[in-house]
Each structure stands twice: as structure tokens, then as C-alpha cells.
């Protein structure tokens, strides 16, 4: 069990890192951008993706500065 936990911890740390909000922000950005690109137009999808990326890193940085992450 310890071995399985260690493997899980390694992959979690490797992929998600020390702030899960970044991973969540990226997933949400991709979902919103995909919906915008396929339902409206592709350029709107581009804008949505870039906005999502900037909001994600902005939020992560603001949390770090406030000492919350």
C-alpha cells in the first residue's frame, strides 16, 4: 500500500505540482475555449484560451503573494 501511495504521490506531484488550481484552471480554460471555438468561431476560442491561461496564472500568483499558496 505504501508503494502504491508513493507512486500516486510521485505522479500527482509530477503532473499537478504544488498548486492544483493551475491544473484546474488549465482544464477549465481548454473546455471553455473548445466550446467557444466549436460553437461560435475559432478566433473566439483563441481569445478564450489565452484569457483562461492569463487568469489562471494571475490567480495563482495572487494567492502566492497573499501567502495562500
Amino acid at each position: 500500500m505504501t508503494y502504491i501511495k508513493a507512486i500516486y504521490a510521485f505522479w500527482y506531484d509530477f503532473i499537478i505540482g504544488d498548486d492544483w488550481r493551475i491544473a484546474a484552471g488549465v482544464v477549465i480554460s481548454l473546455l471553455v475555449a473548445a466550446a467557444a471555438a466549436n460553437a461560435v468561431n475559432r478566433s473566439l476560442g483563441t481569445a478564450a484560451l489565452l484569457a483562461g491561461v492569463l487568469l489562471t496564472i494571475g490567480y495563482a500568483l495572487s494567492r502566492s503573494v497573499r501567502g495562500k499558496g
Binding site: G17, I22, L30, A37, R42, S43, G45, A48, L49, I57
Partner: protein
């Protein structure tokens, strides 16, 4: 153009990881025993080569291109933003800089505390070297497979990683100490921005967004992220505390 970017990105990212792995290997090798340390390095290298060979081939051969771009691009985006977040905080003075000398000293101290070195196999040296090289090498392998598979050119990505290894290991063998002169924090900042750029570009292609000029938008995206990162550093830099106001004069003239 994207092949050139691929090569440079993998080269720089791999160099950063090799510097970190070298610090661990040097600390353990110098303090304990080189034979066991190098056996650990060899074991980790074989494991990583198998991972890249099997996983990389399977990913390119069996995963549809769009799905590959979304998943791999998404992972690169997460990876890149993690690095950018730390790099911005370090550049702004909010987080201590990555210091190879300090890590080397700490690893040496732990190696000394692990007991005497016997004439046979030193399992401490083997395990620490194997684990250190595997963990740092896993990031190299991840970058090689993700960049290489998206660009449909894993051999070029492998070549860039190998060249990085030759440069760093060669330099380490010459100076026989951690490569603290390598501007690691600056390189991590640059690599983080490149991973973010390629991650956004590939994931975006996979989900169907439009990048004006296709591959030509990569350097434009990178330049934009560089500017935004610089603005972020300015924004999060601690403000100097306001000077205390002078006490009101008691005696008016």
C-alpha cells in the same frame, strides 16, 4: 521553424534538469563512493530510456493527433505555468532563488550522516543517485516525449536531450563541483515560458482554435508571454515600506 524551436526548448529544459541531477550525483559520489553512485545513475538512465522508447513510440503510433495535442499540450501548459509561477516569485524576490551550492552542501551532509562506506556496494549512494537521476530525468523524458510526439520528431528531441547531457556532464566532470555558475533561475524562467507557449499552441490546435499564421504565431505568443511575465514580476515585487513620518515639532519657532 518549429523544429528549431523544438530543439532549443528541449535542450534548455534538459540542461536545467541535468544540472540538478548532477548536483545530487556529485554530492553522493564525492562524499561516499563513485562506483555505486554511477551504477545508480546507469540504472536510472536505462529505466528512462525504456520509458521514452516504449511510451514515446506508443503515443506517436496509436494516439490520434488531435487527442495527443490536447492532452500533451494541456500537460505542458500545467507544467509550464507551474515553472512560470515559481520563476516570477523568485524574480520578484518573493521566493528564495534555487541555489545548487546550498543543495550540494545539504546532500553532502545527509550522505555523511548515512554511515560509513564499506568496500562493497554502497546502497545509500546507489539509491540516492538512482532516485535523483530518475526524478530529474523523468522531467527530461516527459519533455522529450511531449515535444517530440507533437512535432512528430522524437529523435530530434532525444538528440537535444542527449546534447544537453553531454554539455552538463562534461562541464561537471571538468570542474568536479555543482554548476552554480549556470544561470539556472533565468533558464527555468525561459523554459517555463517556452513550455507554456508550446502547451497553449498545441492544446489550442487540438481543440480547434485558430492561431493566425499557424507556426508563425509561436514566437509571437512567446514574446507576449515574456512581456506579461515581466509585468507580473513588477506587479508582485514587494513594495518598500513607507518611511516613518517625522514627529511633529514640539516647539514652534
Amino acid at each position: 521553424m518549429s523544429q528549431g524551436f523544438l530543439f532549443v526548448s528541449v535542450l534548455l529544459a534538459s540542461m536545467v534538469e541535468f544540472v540538478e541531477a548532477l548536483t545530487i550525483v556529485l554530492a553522493v559520489g564525492i562524499t561516499r563512493q563513485w562506483r555505486s553512485t554511477l551504477l545508480g545513475v546507469g540504472a536510472a538512465t536505462l529505466g528512462l530510456a525504456a520509458f521514452v522508447g516504449v511510451f514515446g513510440t506508443a503515443v506517436v503510433a496509436f494516439v490520434p493527433l488531435d487527442a495527443l495535442r490536447v492532452v500533451v499540450g494541456g500537460f505542458l501548459l500545467v507544467f509550464g505555468l507551474q515553472w512560470v509561477r515559481k520563476a516570477v516569485l523568485r524574480a520578484a524576490g518573493r521566493k528564495s532563488l534555487h541555489d545548487e551550492e546550498a543543495i550540494f552542501a545539504r546532500e553532502r551532509e545527509e550522505a555523511l550522516r548515512a554511515g560509513k562506506v564499506g568496500p562493497g556496494m554502497d546502497w545509500y549512494a546507489f539509491t540516492v543517485a538512482c532516485k535523483g537521476v530518475f526524478l530529474e530525468g523523468a522531467e527530461v523524458a516527459f519533455i522529450v516525449v511531449t515535444f517530440g510526439s507533437n512535432a512528430k520528431n522524437i529523435p530530434l528531441a532525444v538528440l537535444a536531450a542527449l546534447l544537453a547531457g553531454v554539455i552538463i556532464v562534461g562541464a561537471g566532470a571538468l570542474v568536479h563541483r555543482p554548476l552554480s555558475a549556470v544561470p539556472e533561475n533565468t533558464m527555468k524562467f525561459g523554459v517555463g515560458l517556452m513550455l507554456t507557449t508550446f502547451g497553449a499552441f498545441w492544446a489550442g490546435e487540438g481543440i480547434g482554435v485558430r492561431w493566425p499564421g499557424d507556426d508563425l504565431s509561436i514566437p509571437v505568443l512567446l514574446a507576449a508571454f515574456v512581456v506579461l511575465a515581466w509585468l507580473a514580476v513588477m506587479a508582485v515585487r514587494p513594495r518598500p515600506a513607507p518611511a516613518p513620518s517625522a514627529p511633529a515639532s514640539r516647539a514652534q519657532a
